[in-house]
Subunit: 89 residues, 7 copies
Protein backbone atom coordinates (compact mmCIF):
# COMPACT_ATOMS: atom_id res chain seq x y z
CA UNK A 1 0.00 0.00 0.00
CA UNK A 2 1.36 3.38 -1.06
CA UNK A 3 0.88 6.75 0.60
CA UNK A 4 1.37 9.98 -1.32
CA UNK A 5 1.86 12.87 1.12
CA UNK A 6 0.18 16.11 0.00
CA UNK A 7 2.05 19.36 -0.76
CA UNK A 8 5.13 19.86 1.38
CA UNK A 9 4.45 16.85 3.58
CA UNK A 10 6.89 13.99 4.02
CA UNK A 11 6.26 10.41 5.20
CA UNK A 12 8.92 9.29 7.64
CA UNK A 13 9.72 5.94 9.24
CA UNK A 14 11.19 6.62 12.67
CA UNK A 15 14.49 4.92 13.44
CA UNK A 16 15.33 3.57 16.85
CA UNK A 17 17.47 6.15 18.64
CA UNK A 18 20.96 4.79 19.35
CA UNK A 19 21.75 5.73 22.88
CA UNK A 20 25.54 5.92 23.03
CA UNK A 21 27.22 4.27 20.01
CA UNK A 22 30.44 5.92 18.83
CA UNK A 23 29.77 8.05 15.78
CA UNK A 24 26.03 7.85 16.25
CA UNK A 25 23.59 10.64 16.97
CA UNK A 26 23.26 10.77 20.70
CA UNK A 27 20.45 12.81 22.13
CA UNK A 28 21.75 14.66 25.20
CA UNK A 29 19.60 14.25 28.26
CA UNK A 30 18.51 17.86 28.82
CA UNK A 31 15.35 19.87 29.22
CA UNK A 32 15.58 21.02 25.58
CA UNK A 33 13.42 19.45 22.85
CA UNK A 34 15.25 16.37 21.54
CA UNK A 35 15.42 15.70 17.79
CA UNK A 36 14.76 12.19 16.54
CA UNK A 37 16.06 10.28 13.52
CA UNK A 38 13.97 8.79 10.74
CA UNK A 39 14.09 7.61 7.14
CA UNK A 40 12.13 9.38 4.41
CA UNK A 41 9.69 6.92 2.83
CA UNK A 42 7.65 9.22 0.56
CA UNK A 43 7.66 12.92 -0.26
CA UNK A 44 4.92 15.28 -1.42
CA UNK A 45 4.96 16.97 -4.81
CA UNK A 46 5.75 20.36 -3.27
CA UNK A 47 3.94 23.67 -3.69
CA UNK A 48 3.92 25.98 -6.72
CA UNK A 49 6.15 23.69 -8.76
CA UNK A 50 9.01 23.73 -6.24
CA UNK A 51 10.18 20.22 -5.42
CA UNK A 52 11.05 19.24 -1.90
CA UNK A 53 14.70 19.08 -0.83
CA UNK A 54 14.59 15.79 1.00
CA UNK A 55 14.44 12.57 -1.01
CA UNK A 56 13.27 9.05 -0.37
CA UNK A 57 15.82 7.13 1.78
CA UNK A 58 17.32 10.31 3.28
CA UNK A 59 17.90 9.95 7.00
CA UNK A 60 16.66 13.07 8.71
CA UNK A 61 16.48 14.69 12.14
CA UNK A 62 13.17 16.08 13.39
CA UNK A 63 11.75 17.42 16.63
CA UNK A 64 10.05 15.17 19.18
CA UNK A 65 6.55 16.60 18.92
CA UNK A 66 6.16 17.22 15.19
CA UNK A 67 4.11 15.23 12.73
CA UNK A 68 1.05 12.99 12.78
CA UNK A 69 1.36 9.29 13.53
CA UNK A 70 -0.14 6.69 11.19
CA UNK A 71 0.29 2.94 10.94
CA UNK A 72 0.60 1.23 7.57
CA UNK A 73 0.99 -2.54 7.10
CA UNK A 74 1.80 -2.83 10.78
CA UNK A 75 4.57 -0.23 10.77
CA UNK A 76 4.34 3.17 12.45
CA UNK A 77 5.08 6.25 10.34
CA UNK A 78 5.00 10.00 10.78
CA UNK A 79 3.64 12.56 8.31
CA UNK A 80 5.22 16.00 8.78
CA UNK A 81 5.93 19.17 6.84
CA UNK A 82 9.39 19.35 5.27
CA UNK A 83 9.91 22.65 7.09
CA UNK A 84 9.69 20.69 10.35
CA UNK A 85 12.73 18.59 9.41
CA UNK A 86 15.93 19.96 10.95
CA UNK A 87 18.66 18.33 8.89
CA UNK A 88 19.69 15.47 6.63
CA UNK A 89 22.39 13.21 8.06
Amino acid sequence: MKIQPLGERVLIQPLAAEEKTAGGIIIPNTAKEKPLKGKVVAVGTGLDGKNLTVKVDDVVLYGKYVGTEIELDGTAYLIMLESEILAII
Copy 2:
Protein backbone atom coordinates in the same frame (compact mmCIF):
# COMPACT_ATOMS: atom_id res chain seq x y z
CA MET B 1 -28.32 16.82 -4.80
CA LYS B 2 -24.88 18.19 -5.63
CA ILE B 3 -22.54 20.22 -3.44
CA GLN B 4 -19.81 22.39 -4.93
CA PRO B 5 -17.22 23.21 -2.26
CA LEU B 6 -15.85 26.76 -2.51
CA GLY B 7 -12.19 27.63 -3.20
CA GLU B 8 -9.77 25.12 -1.73
CA ARG B 9 -12.43 23.14 0.11
CA VAL B 10 -13.04 19.44 -0.42
CA LEU B 11 -16.14 17.34 0.34
CA ILE B 12 -15.20 14.04 1.94
CA GLN B 13 -17.17 10.93 2.83
CA PRO B 14 -15.59 9.38 5.93
CA LEU B 15 -14.74 5.69 5.68
CA ALA B 16 -15.07 3.32 8.58
CA ALA B 17 -11.64 2.92 10.20
CA GLU B 18 -10.37 -0.67 9.92
CA GLU B 19 -9.01 -1.56 13.29
CA LYS B 20 -6.36 -4.21 12.63
CA THR B 21 -6.59 -5.71 9.11
CA ALA B 22 -3.32 -6.73 7.49
CA GLY B 23 -2.22 -4.04 5.06
CA GLY B 24 -4.79 -1.60 6.29
CA ILE B 25 -4.26 1.72 7.93
CA ILE B 26 -4.23 1.08 11.64
CA ILE B 27 -4.46 4.06 13.92
CA PRO B 28 -2.07 3.52 16.85
CA ASN B 29 -3.64 4.04 20.22
CA THR B 30 -1.63 7.00 21.50
CA ALA B 31 -2.20 10.47 22.86
CA LYS B 32 -1.30 11.98 19.45
CA GLU B 33 -3.99 13.23 17.05
CA LYS B 34 -5.17 10.26 14.96
CA PRO B 35 -5.72 10.68 11.20
CA LEU B 36 -8.87 9.26 9.64
CA LYS B 37 -9.61 7.90 6.19
CA GLY B 38 -12.21 9.21 3.75
CA LYS B 39 -13.17 9.33 0.07
CA VAL B 40 -13.17 12.60 -1.87
CA VAL B 41 -16.68 13.26 -3.20
CA ALA B 42 -16.33 16.79 -4.60
CA VAL B 43 -13.50 19.32 -4.87
CA GLY B 44 -13.49 23.12 -5.05
CA THR B 45 -12.29 25.05 -8.08
CA GLY B 46 -9.16 26.20 -6.27
CA LEU B 47 -7.80 29.71 -5.82
CA ASP B 48 -6.17 31.97 -8.44
CA GLY B 49 -6.55 29.42 -11.22
CA LYS B 50 -4.60 26.70 -9.41
CA ASN B 51 -6.49 23.42 -9.36
CA LEU B 52 -6.55 21.24 -6.30
CA THR B 53 -4.29 18.20 -6.10
CA VAL B 54 -6.81 15.72 -4.79
CA LYS B 55 -9.42 14.34 -7.15
CA VAL B 56 -12.86 12.81 -6.77
CA ASP B 57 -12.59 9.16 -5.53
CA ASP B 58 -9.15 9.68 -3.98
CA VAL B 59 -8.92 8.05 -0.57
CA VAL B 60 -7.28 10.48 1.80
CA LEU B 61 -6.03 10.73 5.38
CA TYR B 62 -7.06 13.70 7.53
CA GLY B 63 -6.84 14.74 11.16
CA LYS B 64 -9.54 13.89 13.67
CA TYR B 65 -10.73 17.41 14.41
CA VAL B 66 -10.65 19.06 10.98
CA GLY B 67 -13.57 19.98 8.78
CA THR B 68 -17.26 20.80 9.20
CA GLU B 69 -19.85 18.03 9.30
CA ILE B 70 -22.88 18.12 7.00
CA GLU B 71 -25.49 15.51 6.14
CA LEU B 72 -26.70 15.08 2.58
CA ASP B 73 -29.36 12.57 1.51
CA GLY B 74 -28.93 10.83 4.84
CA THR B 75 -25.16 10.43 4.57
CA ALA B 76 -22.64 12.28 6.73
CA TYR B 77 -19.89 14.23 4.97
CA LEU B 78 -17.06 16.54 5.95
CA ILE B 79 -16.06 19.79 4.24
CA MET B 80 -12.42 20.67 4.83
CA LEU B 81 -9.59 22.66 3.25
CA GLU B 82 -7.29 20.64 1.00
CA SER B 83 -4.38 21.87 3.11
CA GLU B 84 -5.90 19.95 6.01
CA ILE B 85 -5.57 16.66 4.15
CA LEU B 86 -2.40 14.77 5.11
CA ALA B 87 -1.96 12.28 2.29
CA ILE B 88 -3.56 10.31 -0.53
CA ILE B 89 -3.47 6.54 -0.06
Copy 3:
Protein backbone atom coordinates in the same frame (compact mmCIF):
# COMPACT_ATOMS: atom_id res chain seq x y z
CA MET C 1 -33.88 49.24 -0.78
CA LYS C 2 -30.64 47.84 -2.08
CA ILE C 3 -27.52 46.83 -0.19
CA GLN C 4 -24.13 46.64 -1.90
CA PRO C 5 -21.74 44.56 0.21
CA LEU C 6 -18.16 45.89 0.18
CA GLY C 7 -15.14 43.96 -1.14
CA GLU C 8 -15.43 40.20 -0.66
CA ARG C 9 -18.59 40.41 1.42
CA VAL C 10 -21.82 38.65 0.50
CA LEU C 11 -25.40 39.38 1.61
CA ILE C 12 -27.27 36.19 2.46
CA GLN C 13 -30.88 35.45 3.30
CA PRO C 14 -30.95 32.50 5.71
CA LEU C 15 -33.21 29.61 4.74
CA ALA C 16 -35.16 27.61 7.28
CA ALA C 17 -33.19 24.43 8.02
CA GLU C 18 -35.13 21.31 6.97
CA GLU C 19 -34.81 18.89 9.82
CA LYS C 20 -35.13 15.47 8.20
CA THR C 21 -36.58 15.63 4.65
CA ALA C 22 -35.30 13.08 2.18
CA GLY C 23 -32.61 14.61 -0.01
CA GLY C 24 -32.36 17.68 2.13
CA ILE C 25 -29.39 18.90 4.08
CA ILE C 26 -29.75 17.48 7.55
CA ILE C 27 -27.56 18.90 10.24
CA PRO C 28 -26.33 16.04 12.45
CA ASN C 29 -26.84 16.62 16.14
CA THR C 30 -23.23 16.70 17.32
CA ALA C 31 -20.91 18.96 19.26
CA LYS C 32 -19.33 20.16 15.99
CA GLU C 33 -20.19 23.55 14.46
CA LYS C 34 -23.27 23.06 12.24
CA PRO C 35 -23.42 24.72 8.81
CA LEU C 36 -26.59 26.55 7.80
CA LYS C 37 -28.20 27.14 4.42
CA GLY C 38 -28.97 30.51 2.83
CA LYS C 39 -29.59 32.24 -0.48
CA VAL C 40 -27.17 34.81 -1.87
CA VAL C 41 -28.98 38.15 -2.28
CA ALA C 42 -26.11 40.47 -3.20
CA VAL C 43 -22.35 40.10 -3.70
CA GLY C 44 -19.48 42.54 -3.31
CA THR C 45 -17.33 43.69 -6.22
CA GLY C 46 -14.35 41.65 -4.99
CA LEU C 47 -10.80 42.76 -4.36
CA ASP C 48 -8.11 43.69 -6.90
CA GLY C 49 -10.38 43.09 -9.88
CA LYS C 50 -11.13 39.46 -8.96
CA ASN C 51 -14.84 38.75 -8.98
CA LEU C 52 -16.43 36.61 -6.34
CA THR C 53 -17.30 32.99 -7.09
CA VAL C 54 -20.77 32.92 -5.63
CA LYS C 55 -23.58 34.57 -7.55
CA VAL C 56 -26.96 36.02 -6.63
CA ASP C 57 -29.54 33.20 -6.04
CA ASP C 58 -26.87 30.60 -5.21
CA VAL C 59 -27.86 28.50 -2.22
CA VAL C 60 -24.87 28.21 0.07
CA LEU C 61 -23.75 26.53 3.29
CA TYR C 62 -22.09 28.58 6.02
CA GLY C 63 -21.03 28.12 9.63
CA LYS C 64 -23.34 28.88 12.51
CA TYR C 65 -21.40 31.79 13.99
CA VAL C 66 -20.20 33.65 10.91
CA GLY C 67 -21.46 36.96 9.57
CA THR C 68 -23.23 40.04 10.90
CA GLU C 69 -27.01 40.15 11.17
CA ILE C 70 -28.98 43.00 9.63
CA GLU C 71 -32.68 43.48 8.98
CA LEU C 72 -33.89 45.05 5.76
CA ASP C 73 -37.58 45.67 4.94
CA GLY C 74 -38.50 43.38 7.79
CA THR C 75 -36.37 40.45 6.65
CA ALA C 76 -33.26 39.22 8.46
CA TYR C 77 -30.05 38.91 6.45
CA LEU C 78 -26.42 38.06 7.09
CA ILE C 79 -23.37 39.85 5.71
CA MET C 80 -20.31 37.59 5.61
CA LEU C 81 -17.03 37.20 3.75
CA GLU C 82 -17.15 34.84 0.77
CA SER C 83 -14.26 32.93 2.34
CA GLU C 84 -16.61 32.06 5.19
CA ILE C 85 -18.98 30.23 2.84
CA LEU C 86 -18.34 26.48 2.80
CA ALA C 87 -20.06 25.33 -0.38
CA ILE C 88 -22.67 26.00 -3.03
CA ILE C 89 -25.48 23.45 -3.15
Copy 4:
Protein backbone atom coordinates in the same frame (compact mmCIF):
# COMPACT_ATOMS: atom_id res chain seq x y z
CA MET D 1 -12.95 72.83 9.27
CA LYS D 2 -11.94 69.93 7.08
CA ILE D 3 -10.58 66.52 8.05
CA GLN D 4 -8.57 64.41 5.61
CA PRO D 5 -8.48 60.79 6.79
CA LEU D 6 -5.15 59.05 6.13
CA GLY D 7 -4.69 56.01 3.91
CA GLU D 8 -7.69 53.68 3.88
CA ARG D 9 -9.52 55.53 6.62
CA VAL D 10 -12.99 57.00 6.19
CA LEU D 11 -14.73 59.76 8.18
CA ILE D 12 -18.33 58.83 8.96
CA GLN D 13 -21.22 60.76 10.47
CA PRO D 14 -23.39 58.26 12.37
CA LEU D 15 -27.09 58.32 11.51
CA ALA D 16 -29.78 57.76 14.10
CA ALA D 17 -30.89 54.14 13.87
CA GLU D 18 -34.54 53.84 12.82
CA GLU D 19 -36.08 51.30 15.11
CA LYS D 20 -38.95 49.83 13.11
CA THR D 21 -39.88 51.98 10.07
CA ALA D 22 -41.05 50.09 7.01
CA GLY D 23 -38.25 49.70 4.52
CA GLY D 24 -35.64 50.89 6.95
CA ILE D 25 -32.72 48.98 8.36
CA ILE D 26 -33.91 47.43 11.58
CA ILE D 27 -31.31 46.03 13.88
CA PRO D 28 -32.62 42.75 15.34
CA ASN D 29 -32.37 42.50 19.09
CA THR D 30 -29.97 39.58 19.43
CA ALA D 31 -26.69 38.75 21.09
CA LYS D 32 -24.85 39.24 17.78
CA GLU D 33 -22.88 42.43 17.02
CA LYS D 34 -25.29 44.97 15.52
CA PRO D 35 -24.26 47.06 12.51
CA LEU D 36 -24.96 50.78 12.52
CA LYS D 37 -25.71 53.23 9.72
CA GLY D 38 -23.71 56.33 8.85
CA LYS D 39 -22.95 58.79 6.07
CA VAL D 40 -19.46 59.05 4.56
CA VAL D 41 -18.15 62.60 5.07
CA ALA D 42 -14.54 62.25 3.89
CA VAL D 43 -12.39 59.43 2.50
CA GLY D 44 -8.65 58.81 2.59
CA THR D 45 -6.51 58.77 -0.53
CA GLY D 46 -6.06 55.00 -0.34
CA LEU D 47 -2.87 52.95 -0.37
CA ASP D 48 -0.52 52.24 -3.28
CA GLY D 49 -2.55 54.32 -5.74
CA LYS D 50 -5.76 52.31 -5.21
CA ASN D 51 -8.72 54.56 -4.50
CA LEU D 52 -11.27 53.64 -1.90
CA THR D 53 -14.60 52.15 -2.97
CA VAL D 54 -16.86 54.23 -0.78
CA LYS D 55 -17.53 57.83 -1.75
CA VAL D 56 -18.59 60.96 0.11
CA ASP D 57 -22.38 60.85 0.84
CA ASP D 58 -22.57 57.04 0.65
CA VAL D 59 -24.70 55.62 3.44
CA VAL D 60 -22.87 52.66 4.93
CA LEU D 61 -23.31 49.92 7.52
CA TYR D 62 -20.56 49.30 10.08
CA GLY D 63 -20.09 47.27 13.24
CA LYS D 64 -20.92 48.66 16.67
CA TYR D 65 -17.40 48.71 18.08
CA VAL D 66 -15.32 49.86 15.11
CA GLY D 67 -13.69 53.24 14.60
CA THR D 68 -12.48 56.12 16.74
CA GLU D 69 -14.86 58.86 17.87
CA ILE D 70 -14.04 62.51 17.25
CA GLU D 71 -16.13 65.65 17.55
CA LEU D 72 -15.88 68.39 14.94
CA ASP D 73 -17.85 71.66 15.09
CA GLY D 74 -20.08 70.12 17.70
CA THR D 75 -20.93 67.01 15.70
CA ALA D 76 -19.74 63.49 16.54
CA TYR D 77 -17.96 61.52 13.83
CA LEU D 78 -16.19 58.18 13.50
CA ILE D 79 -12.90 57.48 11.74
CA MET D 80 -12.60 53.86 10.61
CA LEU D 81 -10.82 51.74 8.02
CA GLU D 82 -12.80 51.11 4.84
CA SER D 83 -12.30 47.39 5.42
CA GLU D 84 -14.39 47.76 8.57
CA ILE D 85 -17.40 48.95 6.56
CA LEU D 86 -19.83 46.12 5.84
CA ALA D 87 -21.91 47.48 2.98
CA ILE D 88 -23.22 50.51 1.10
CA ILE D 89 -26.99 50.94 1.24
Copy 5:
Protein backbone atom coordinates in the same frame (compact mmCIF):
# COMPACT_ATOMS: atom_id res chain seq x y z
CA MET E 1 19.00 70.00 17.58
CA LYS E 2 17.35 68.03 14.83
CA ILE E 3 15.70 64.62 14.96
CA GLN E 4 15.31 62.49 11.85
CA PRO E 5 12.66 59.81 12.45
CA LEU E 6 13.49 56.46 10.80
CA GLY E 7 11.38 54.79 8.12
CA GLU E 8 7.67 55.48 8.45
CA ARG E 9 8.01 57.27 11.79
CA VAL E 10 6.83 60.82 12.38
CA LEU E 11 7.88 63.31 15.09
CA ILE E 12 4.87 65.11 16.52
CA GLN E 13 4.51 68.04 18.92
CA PRO E 14 1.28 67.49 20.87
CA LEU E 15 -1.13 70.43 20.90
CA ALA E 16 -3.19 71.32 23.93
CA ALA E 17 -6.68 69.86 23.43
CA GLU E 18 -9.34 72.59 23.14
CA GLU E 19 -12.18 71.49 25.32
CA LYS E 20 -15.26 73.15 23.84
CA THR E 21 -14.37 76.01 21.40
CA ALA E 22 -16.72 76.48 18.45
CA GLY E 23 -15.30 74.86 15.34
CA GLY E 24 -12.57 73.10 17.28
CA ILE E 25 -12.02 69.37 17.68
CA ILE E 26 -13.83 68.40 20.84
CA ILE E 27 -13.08 65.00 22.23
CA PRO E 28 -16.34 63.47 23.49
CA ASN E 29 -16.19 62.15 27.02
CA THR E 30 -16.81 58.47 26.41
CA ALA E 31 -15.22 55.14 27.17
CA LYS E 32 -13.80 54.96 23.64
CA GLU E 33 -10.16 55.75 22.91
CA LYS E 34 -9.86 59.54 22.44
CA PRO E 35 -7.75 60.93 19.58
CA LEU E 36 -5.41 63.83 20.29
CA LYS E 37 -4.16 66.66 18.11
CA GLY E 38 -0.53 67.43 17.28
CA LYS E 39 1.70 69.20 14.79
CA VAL E 40 4.11 67.26 12.57
CA VAL E 41 7.68 68.42 13.28
CA ALA E 42 9.71 65.91 11.26
CA VAL E 43 8.93 62.93 9.03
CA GLY E 44 10.88 59.79 8.16
CA THR E 45 12.11 59.05 4.67
CA GLY E 46 9.56 56.27 4.20
CA LEU E 47 10.08 52.66 3.16
CA ASP E 48 10.96 51.30 -0.28
CA GLY E 49 11.12 54.75 -1.87
CA LYS E 50 7.53 55.66 -0.93
CA ASN E 51 7.34 59.05 0.75
CA LEU E 52 5.09 59.59 3.71
CA THR E 53 1.74 61.34 3.22
CA VAL E 54 1.94 63.73 6.15
CA LYS E 55 4.18 66.75 5.88
CA VAL E 56 5.93 69.03 8.38
CA ASP E 57 3.43 71.50 9.92
CA ASP E 58 0.40 69.26 9.22
CA VAL E 59 -1.94 69.15 12.19
CA VAL E 60 -2.93 65.54 12.78
CA LEU E 61 -5.18 63.41 14.98
CA TYR E 62 -3.77 60.35 16.73
CA GLY E 63 -4.86 57.89 19.38
CA LYS E 64 -4.20 58.46 23.05
CA TYR E 65 -1.82 55.57 23.63
CA VAL E 66 0.30 55.57 20.47
CA GLY E 67 3.88 56.69 20.08
CA THR E 68 6.94 57.07 22.28
CA GLU E 69 7.52 60.24 24.31
CA ILE E 70 10.79 62.13 24.05
CA GLU E 71 11.81 65.57 25.26
CA LEU E 72 13.95 67.80 23.07
CA ASP E 73 15.16 71.29 24.14
CA GLY E 74 12.65 71.24 26.96
CA THR E 75 9.64 70.39 24.76
CA ALA E 76 7.79 67.07 24.82
CA TYR E 77 7.35 65.25 21.51
CA LEU E 78 5.97 61.94 20.31
CA ILE E 79 7.51 59.58 17.76
CA MET E 80 4.90 57.36 16.08
CA LEU E 81 4.34 55.41 12.89
CA GLU E 82 2.45 57.29 10.17
CA SER E 83 0.00 54.40 10.10
CA GLU E 84 -0.96 55.30 13.65
CA ILE E 85 -2.10 58.78 12.58
CA LEU E 86 -5.85 58.91 12.01
CA ALA E 87 -6.30 62.06 9.94
CA ILE E 88 -4.93 65.43 8.87
CA ILE E 89 -7.07 68.40 9.91
Copy 6:
Protein backbone atom coordinates in the same frame (compact mmCIF):
# COMPACT_ATOMS: atom_id res chain seq x y z
CA MET F 1 37.85 42.72 17.74
CA LYS F 2 35.17 43.43 15.16
CA ILE F 3 31.51 42.41 15.20
CA GLN F 4 29.51 42.19 12.00
CA PRO F 5 25.77 42.26 12.81
CA LEU F 6 23.68 39.99 10.57
CA GLY F 7 20.94 41.20 8.23
CA GLU F 8 19.10 44.26 9.51
CA ARG F 9 20.81 44.24 12.90
CA VAL F 10 22.79 47.19 14.25
CA LEU F 11 25.46 47.26 16.97
CA ILE F 12 24.96 50.22 19.30
CA GLN F 13 27.05 51.67 22.10
CA PRO F 14 24.65 53.16 24.67
CA LEU F 15 25.34 56.76 25.68
CA ALA F 16 24.80 58.01 29.20
CA ALA F 17 21.41 59.72 29.32
CA GLU F 18 21.74 63.46 30.06
CA GLU F 19 19.15 64.22 32.67
CA LYS F 20 18.36 67.93 32.20
CA THR F 21 20.98 69.75 30.06
CA ALA F 22 19.66 72.58 27.87
CA GLY F 23 19.23 71.37 24.30
CA GLY F 24 19.74 67.76 25.26
CA ILE F 25 17.30 64.89 24.98
CA ILE F 26 15.51 64.73 28.29
CA ILE F 27 13.47 61.65 28.98
CA PRO F 28 10.25 62.72 30.73
CA ASN F 29 9.53 60.82 33.90
CA THR F 30 6.28 59.11 32.95
CA ALA F 31 4.81 55.64 32.80
CA LYS F 32 5.46 55.47 29.05
CA GLU F 33 8.41 53.54 27.60
CA LYS F 34 11.45 55.84 27.61
CA PRO F 35 13.77 55.93 24.59
CA LEU F 36 17.51 55.87 25.14
CA LYS F 37 20.39 57.33 23.16
CA GLY F 38 23.28 55.41 21.62
CA LYS F 39 25.97 55.55 18.96
CA VAL F 40 25.95 53.18 15.98
CA VAL F 41 29.16 51.12 16.00
CA ALA F 42 28.48 48.60 13.22
CA VAL F 43 25.61 47.89 10.83
CA GLY F 44 24.43 44.72 9.10
CA THR F 45 24.51 44.29 5.35
CA GLY F 46 20.73 44.52 5.10
CA LEU F 47 18.28 42.11 3.47
CA ASP F 48 17.67 41.52 -0.24
CA GLY F 49 20.31 44.02 -1.31
CA LYS F 50 18.73 46.96 0.55
CA ASN F 51 21.27 48.79 2.69
CA LEU F 52 20.37 50.00 6.14
CA THR F 53 19.53 53.67 6.70
CA VAL F 54 21.59 54.25 9.80
CA LYS F 55 25.34 54.60 9.46
CA VAL F 56 28.29 54.10 11.77
CA ASP F 57 28.63 57.06 14.20
CA ASP F 58 24.94 58.04 13.92
CA VAL F 59 23.47 58.88 17.30
CA VAL F 60 20.10 57.17 17.57
CA LEU F 61 17.13 56.87 19.90
CA TYR F 62 15.77 53.44 20.82
CA GLY F 63 13.29 51.97 23.27
CA LYS F 64 14.30 50.86 26.74
CA TYR F 65 13.66 47.16 26.32
CA VAL F 66 14.90 46.46 22.79
CA GLY F 67 18.07 44.68 21.77
CA THR F 68 20.41 42.07 23.23
CA GLU F 69 23.28 43.11 25.48
CA ILE F 70 26.83 41.98 24.75
CA GLU F 71 30.18 43.08 26.17
CA LEU F 72 33.18 43.51 23.89
CA ASP F 73 36.65 44.53 25.11
CA GLY F 74 35.12 45.57 28.40
CA THR F 75 32.44 47.82 26.88
CA ALA F 76 28.71 47.07 26.88
CA TYR F 77 26.89 47.14 23.55
CA LEU F 78 23.43 46.38 22.24
CA ILE F 79 22.50 44.46 19.09
CA MET F 80 19.05 45.41 17.77
CA LEU F 81 17.08 45.44 14.54
CA GLU F 82 17.18 48.73 12.64
CA SER F 83 13.39 48.73 12.71
CA GLU F 84 13.62 49.03 16.50
CA ILE F 85 15.49 52.35 16.21
CA LEU F 86 13.15 55.31 16.57
CA ALA F 87 15.17 58.19 15.12
CA ILE F 88 18.58 59.60 14.26
CA ILE F 89 19.51 62.75 16.20
Copy 7:
Protein backbone atom coordinates in the same frame (compact mmCIF):
# COMPACT_ATOMS: atom_id res chain seq x y z
CA MET G 1 29.40 11.72 9.93
CA LYS G 2 28.05 14.76 8.10
CA ILE G 3 24.90 16.74 8.80
CA GLN G 4 23.29 18.89 6.13
CA PRO G 5 20.96 21.43 7.75
CA LEU G 6 17.76 22.07 5.76
CA GLY G 7 16.80 25.45 4.28
CA GLU G 8 17.96 28.41 6.36
CA ARG G 9 19.21 26.28 9.22
CA VAL G 10 22.79 26.37 10.48
CA LEU G 11 24.71 23.77 12.51
CA ILE G 12 26.73 25.41 15.28
CA GLN G 13 29.31 24.09 17.69
CA PRO G 14 29.01 26.10 20.92
CA LEU G 15 32.23 27.62 22.22
CA ALA G 16 32.98 27.87 25.90
CA ALA G 17 32.11 31.38 27.06
CA GLU G 18 35.21 33.26 28.23
CA GLU G 19 34.25 34.95 31.43
CA LYS G 20 36.57 37.98 31.64
CA THR G 21 39.53 37.75 29.21
CA ALA G 22 40.71 41.05 27.76
CA GLY G 23 39.37 41.51 24.24
CA GLY G 24 36.98 38.63 24.59
CA ILE G 25 33.20 38.69 24.48
CA ILE G 26 32.08 38.98 28.07
CA ILE G 27 28.45 38.35 28.79
CA PRO G 28 27.26 40.90 31.38
CA ASN G 29 25.51 39.41 34.34
CA THR G 30 22.07 40.98 33.95
CA ALA G 31 18.46 39.94 33.67
CA LYS G 32 18.57 40.36 29.88
CA GLU G 33 18.91 37.36 27.56
CA LYS G 34 22.63 36.62 27.14
CA PRO G 35 24.04 35.79 23.70
CA LEU G 36 26.45 32.88 23.36
CA LYS G 37 29.34 32.24 21.00
CA GLY G 38 29.68 29.33 18.60
CA LYS G 39 31.42 28.18 15.42
CA VAL G 40 29.47 27.44 12.26
CA VAL G 41 30.01 23.81 11.26
CA ALA G 42 27.50 23.42 8.39
CA VAL G 43 25.02 25.66 6.64
CA GLY G 44 21.76 24.94 4.81
CA THR G 45 21.32 25.59 1.10
CA GLY G 46 19.03 28.55 1.74
CA LEU G 47 15.54 29.22 0.42
CA ASP G 48 14.52 30.25 -3.11
CA GLY G 49 18.08 30.22 -4.39
CA LYS G 50 19.37 32.76 -1.84
CA ASN G 51 22.50 31.52 -0.11
CA LEU G 52 22.99 32.04 3.60
CA THR G 53 25.25 34.86 4.82
CA VAL G 54 27.18 32.92 7.42
CA LYS G 55 29.85 30.49 6.30
CA VAL G 56 31.50 27.44 7.79
CA ASP G 57 34.08 28.44 10.45
CA ASP G 58 32.41 31.82 11.15
CA VAL G 59 32.24 32.54 14.87
CA VAL G 60 28.77 33.82 15.66
CA LEU G 61 26.73 35.18 18.54
CA TYR G 62 23.28 33.73 19.27
CA GLY G 63 20.66 33.96 21.98
CA LYS G 64 20.63 31.59 24.94
CA TYR G 65 17.37 29.81 24.18
CA VAL G 66 17.49 29.41 20.40
CA GLY G 67 18.16 26.25 18.44
CA THR G 68 17.77 22.51 18.97
CA GLU G 69 20.51 20.50 20.64
CA ILE G 70 21.93 17.38 18.99
CA GLU G 71 24.99 15.29 19.73
CA LEU G 72 27.17 13.97 16.93
CA ASP G 73 30.25 11.78 17.46
CA GLY G 74 30.20 12.71 21.11
CA THR G 75 30.12 16.47 20.55
CA ALA G 76 27.12 18.70 21.30
CA TYR G 77 25.83 20.94 18.51
CA LEU G 78 22.96 23.32 17.94
CA ILE G 79 20.77 23.59 14.85
CA MET G 80 19.19 27.04 14.48
CA LEU G 81 17.79 29.33 11.81
CA GLU G 82 20.25 31.85 10.41
CA SER G 83 17.81 34.59 11.34
CA GLU G 84 18.36 33.63 14.98
CA ILE G 85 22.06 34.45 14.74
CA LEU G 86 22.82 37.96 16.02
CA ALA G 87 26.25 38.70 14.57
CA ILE G 88 29.50 37.34 13.17
CA ILE G 89 32.58 38.16 15.25
